[in-house]
Symmetry: C2
Subunit: 233 residues, 2 copies
Amino acid sequence: MMLKLFDLAGRDPMLRFSPYCWRVKMALAHKAQEPATIAWRFHEKSALPGAPENQKVPVLVDSGTVIADSTAIAFHLEQRYANGPSLFGGPGGEAHAHFILAWADSILIPAMAPIVAPNVLPHLHPDDQDYFRTSREHRFGTTLEQLGETSAERLPAFRALLAPMRITLGKQAFLGGDEPSYADYGVFGCFQWARCVGTPDLLAPGDTLRVWLDEMLDLFGGLARDAVVANAA
Amino acid sequence: MMLKLFDLAGRDPMLRFSPYCWRVKMALAHKAQEPATIAWRFHEKSALPGAPENQKVPVLVDSGTVIADSTAIAFHLEQRYANGPSLFGGPGGEAHAHFILAWADSILIPAMAPIVAPNVLPHLHPDDQDYFRTSREHRFGTTLEQLGETSAERLPAFRALLAPMRITLGKQAFLGGDEPSYADYGVFGCFQWARCVGTPDLLAPGDTLRVWLDEMLDLFGGLARDAVVANAA
């Protein structure tokens, strides 16, 4: 096997929930590549290729070359597997994708994290739980339990942030146009993160984004739909 | 002259402040086209080509073909002047640009409008002022004067929304990559709208976005920098 992906796992080694790792798994499938995925936990920093510089996943090993960071991996795949379907649709697509990924990272994930994080904790490997609680409670300035109690209040503001997605997907099937692009995987990874740890539905019942989300779950023979999903805490 | 652009004007017919018209003026310059621009006011609906279907500007007349809506005009220019520099950088660039434009329309403009609208009013043609006040006060649920008094309070939230811009422009000179694309014009038009009506600086003194904004003002021989700017109200 030429491709190895270090993929964040929970207590159950088959529970793979990292939004950034999902971006890469979708991008690999887009390029018709089937990596060996290796379950990795937050406390296994020294087991990562390229450690200690590399401290987190995803890390891809492609025929001996080590690439860290989901965006860097996507650009690597686009170049290395240039004969496969494009992840970006040309130079303009690459440039504009940076904005969509930046939006996902700086707006979507920070709005989603206080809702999702309380669901992550119980599914982590026991040796990851202290690290996760301490780092997240420091970031959010409150306990994960308090966040969990107030997550319903956060939903309206979260849903309002998705307006640019709804407008775009009212005009075309995917952010990438007629076919999904890495921009779709960038956003979808966030929703799959929530789904894998058993977060209750983030979208309102009639939200038009459900059509896109269903399409994303169906891609590549249901790669994301068939993923192991934890029960709600 | 083969290209005519109907362009929103103030009391001073040379004051041209519409964000959507600025998108089109930048796109025309990108394609090295010099349109005749025709000052148009909100009350001159019947003077628009394609009225009564067309009710607002920009409207472009290109050798007898009438195109309304800034995005439709941009795609028209990309196709009609295909030999000029691309506005989108290929199919992926076009698809992803829809998201950036949707973000500008659904997030940026609604956050900027309560700050900018009070500055627009005094510079409008007298026959436009009642329409503008009534429609905007209905939209915002308060008077333009009250909005004006609270605009400083809105700046921190507005500036926080620009995070995806800062991240992207930390990696590349323009949203379009090494060169500006229509996505840059889509966002820049909003800043130029504020600037033309004399809105005090929206960016904090050290904001890294100032570099991009200066570059945008300098494009095409200073087309936007040299525009007529109203004095602050």
